[in-house]
Amino acid sequence: METYKVPPNGGDEGLDTADDGALVINVGPQHPATHGVLHLVITLQGETIQKIEPHLGYIHRSIEKMCESLSYRQFIYVTSRMDYLSAHINNHGCALCVEKGLQLEVPPRAQVIRVLMGELTRIASHELWWGAMAMDLGAFTPFFYAFRERETINDIMEETCGARLTMNYMVPGGVMYDLHPNFQQRVKDFIQLFNNKIDEYDDLVTGNIIFQNRTKGVGVLSAADAISYGCTGPVARGSGVACDIRKLYPYAVYDKVAFDEIIETAGDSYARYLVRVKELRQSVRIIEQLIDNIPEGDFQAKTKAVLKLPKGEFYSRVETARGEFGVYIVSEGGTTPYRIKFRSPGFSNLSALDHMSRGSKIGDLMAIMGTLDLVIPDIDR
């Protein structure tokens, strides 16, 4: 009688196994934890991650090419569609770059409005991240808590800017229109409410022993690696790299307000988590200092109808919720940029994912990806 032999791959004909028993699986492009169309090809040995290879391009719109045919007023609004959670801050970076080229002075009122809106955006972005991150790790309630507060910010945005997510509030030389009369009061109400909520977040998730066990010591990134991989924002600051553009190269009124750059040195997922949660309090601090001190005056500088940047190259950078966002404009003196490059924080942060996850268990991948805070349109552009 013929004896049955187990085939070398264990009988799983459909699974893609290599000779050494490594298993290749796909995460995404439609996976709930990637929060967008990110495709990761993961090589596993048992449960241990050997290699992660990101496949990009599912949402690539070639924004850089698109901008080459848009005027200096128009291209700003396309960047809202990159990192849609930091839309306002992206717009700020672009406006700064055009202003640098035109050597345009921005009125103080506009600068304060920009910073206020930017910090509200940062809070909204970190809130969404906090809820989604906890949800990825199996806790469902935080998501609703986060959205409850985030909704208030969206309403404030809607009142002044007319839109909730892609605000398109920035123009070269200032902001598009003045603040809504209710703005100050509503922001003050929100701040009062929000201060207690951050403590609630800490009670619910930060101090939670299950959460800590799942994130401490997971996905460790050293400071030297963070720099080499070009990581910025909370990802690099969680590894002890001082990289906050608001502190290093202050723009708008960031050099006139008091706030701390949050730096943690552990470099693991928990450190990156702590950086973002503590940044919430710093954003609140900035808003508290500015909300009663909005200078009177113009909200927009006088500019020509058609903007022409002089021949040359201009680079500006801002700190979005995800890290350093750079705008590099090469001008040939025309009304449209000759070449434009967006240095998006997500793209560089993603490149560290493979390095951080090697040797981790597959279950830890969600904790690592969650604290990288990837926004896929920002990576693909």
Binding site: S69, I227, S228, G230, C243, E313, E332, F347, S348
Partner: protein
């Protein structure tokens, strides 16, 4: 370090480098053959340029003087000294080839793949040079100025 000090440092290894101080940061242009040793020097020597924050390419073929010219642009900052420089390398547009720097700055690996994908610059000795956002059988390099796509591209 001030721009002048950086310049003096660079002149010691790149006596033929072309400097441009009109922009925000010091710009230096080096020959493609000298790029790799220069990159290693930048990374490890006195200037300590450990943070490559922007890597991109410019196609000059739509201008009168740059019909066969691509320029690689590298933005470096030192996280130790907080100085920034811009390095440019001119490439032949018909056969653009340059040594990879992904072994000096790990972030370059993905950025160089993006430039390869969209500009068609070949990075020699790159560990994994494949298209990044487009499919492997895609023809043409979309960010080049002469790229045409009659179906999907809308011209204003």
């Amino acid at each position: 370090m001030t721009n002048e000090e950086i310049k003096q440092h660079i002149i010691t290894v790149q006596p033929n480098g072309v400097f441009d101080e009109t922009g925000e940061w010091l710009q230096v242009q080096v020959e493609v053959g000298e790029w790799k040793p220069f990159a290693q020097w930048l990374r490890n020597d006195a200037l300590q340029m450990d943070f490559l924050f922007c890597l991109t390419c410019i196609d000059w073929s739509a201008t009168a003087t740059g019909k066969t010219l691509l320029t690689m642009v590298y933005h470096f900052t030192s996280t130790v000294f907080r100085h920034t420089i811009v390095v440019k390398v001119k490439l032949d547009r018909n056969n653009p080839e340059i040594e990879t720097v992904s072994d000096c700055w790990r972030t370059a690996e993905l950025h160089e793949r993006e430039v390869f994908d969209l500009f068609g610059v070949k990075f020699l000795h790159h560990p994994d040079l494949r298209r990044l956002v487009l499919t492997d059988d895609f023809e043409g390099y979309p960010l080049r100025k002469d790229f045409e796509d009659p179906i999907n591209m809308i011209k204003l």
